[in-house]
């Protein structure tokens, strides 16, 4: 069926996305005992966030140089255990400043 009603299309999307999000939460109601699955789920956030960050961050700005600089700043500040908002703001400021440079 071709989409004629955008509101209906939005509702269809919303239902699919919500079901994906909510089903594991309502279906898995107890603590998983399997050491393998527990370990697997333990590593999931680290892998997912790493995969989402790189290389996507390189395409997030107007030029790759500002993205590389922001990546470097964010990595250093994160390793120094700076707070989350500090790292985020510093990365944005880096992009802004690098893109002001005349040769970029």
């Amino acid at each position: 069926m071709t989409v004629h009603n955008v509101f209906l299309a939005i509702a269809v999307m919303a239902v699919v996305t919500y079901l994906i999000r909510v089903l594991p939460l309502v279906l898995i109601r107890r603590e998983i005992k399997s050491p393998f699955i527990r370990s697997f789920l333990y590593y999931v956030p680290y892998v997912t966030l790493s995969v989402m960050t790189f290389p996507a961050i390189l395409g997030a700005t107007n030029v790759i140089w500002s993205a590389l600089a922001a990546l470097a700043v964010a990595v250093v500040l994160s390793l120094m255990r700076c707070k989350l908002p500090v790292v985020a703001v510093a990365a944005c400021a880096t992009v802004f400043l690098v893109e002001l440079l005349p040769f970029v």
């Binding site: 069926m1 071709t2 989409v3 955008v6 299309a9 939005i10 999307m13 919303a14 699919v16 996305t17 919500y18 994906i20 999000r21 089903l23 594991p24 939460l25 898995i28 109601r29 050491p35 393998f36 699955i37 527990r38 370990s39 789920l41 333990y42 590593y43 999931v44 956030p45 680290y46 892998v47 997912t48 966030l49 790493s50 995969v51 960050t53 790189f54 290389p55 961050i57 997030a60 700005t61 107007n62 500002s66 993205a67 922001a70 990546l71 964010a74 994160s78 390793l79 255990r81 707070k83 989350l84 908002p85 790292v87 985020a88 990365a91 944005c92 400021a93 992009v95 802004f96 893109e99």
Partner: protein, 245 residues
């Protein structure tokens, strides 16, 4: 509201604030795209409020703009957003087993990459109030950003939106790198994940493997790498601060 609940809520608000700001910037760009594709401001705002997914909405805008079917739209959302299924599985173990059905329904609405990230970075059991705090700032940021982007269009210079685009990635790094410093295993997992992601992205571009969408790539690598890591380095107590070193 008990004192404990209040504190969890405030903690969620605090951690949600940078997310809300980052969302605002990304959603602003999304709103511009949506009006470009012919969607009204009301449509794009409702889409953001009810879907809360950047990649999914960007794909939907492209599909709706080009003409699509309900089935194609539903399938696209499934493929792009299937990673939330893994995140929710992990979250199901992070919340107390006796968390009520209603709380689970509400937390589910707020499972986004960023809220998931900050939730998993909390070292104790997660209280639903924390999610509500994060949702309370993240969702208005996302929804209002879309609305303003749709209404105001290109008032922000490209320079400013470009700078804001890195905020969410910087946040991800701030979440995964401190534990990586403590644990060689996590450091290895992070490094291998990024390397594999770069190689796969390159392969997709070079060989035009268009069926491997970004959402699908994330799921594929997450399942593969997490499984291998779990097999090689099983974790004894995933909820404690103790990590394999």
């Amino acid at each position: 509201m008990s004192n404990d609940t209040k504190q969890w809520f405030i903690r969620g608000l605090r951690d949600g604030l940078p997310i809300g700001l980052g969302y605002f910037a990304v959603a602003f760009a999304l709103g511009i795209q949506a009006s470009g594709a012919g969607m009204t401001a009301l449509q794009s705002t409702l889409m953001s409020l009810f879907n809360l997914t950047s990649a999914g909405e960007a794909a939907a805008i492209a599909l709706i703009g080009a003409g699509t079917t309900y089935v194609e739209l539903a399938f696209t959302q499934l493929v792009i957003n299937i990673r939330y299924l893994l995140m929710s599985c992990a979250l199901s173990q992070k919340i107390a087993p006796d968390t009520s059905f209603l709380h689970r329904l509400l937390i589910g609405y707020g499972v986004t990459d960023e809220i998931f990230a900050v939730s998993m970075a909390v070292s104790d059991r997660l209280s639903p109030a924390y999610s509500y705090g994060a949702i309370a700032v993240a969702v208005p940021g996302w929804t209002l950003g879309t609305l303003l982007g749709a209404v105001l269009g290109n008032v922000l210079p490209a320079r400013a939106t470009g700078a804001l685009g890195v905020a969410l990635y910087a946040m991800f790094l701030a979440i995964i790198l401190p534990p990586a410093r403590k644990s060689k295993v996590i450091a290895g997992v992070v490094a291998i994940s990024m390397l594999a992601s770069a190689l796969l992205t390159l392969a997709v571009e070079r060989l035009s493997l268009t069926f491997l969408t970004e959402g699908f790539r994330i799921v594929l690598l997450t399942v593969l790498i997490s499984a291998v890591a779990a097999w090689l380095f099983p974790v004894v107590a995933p909820h404690s601060e103790e990590v394999p070193s």
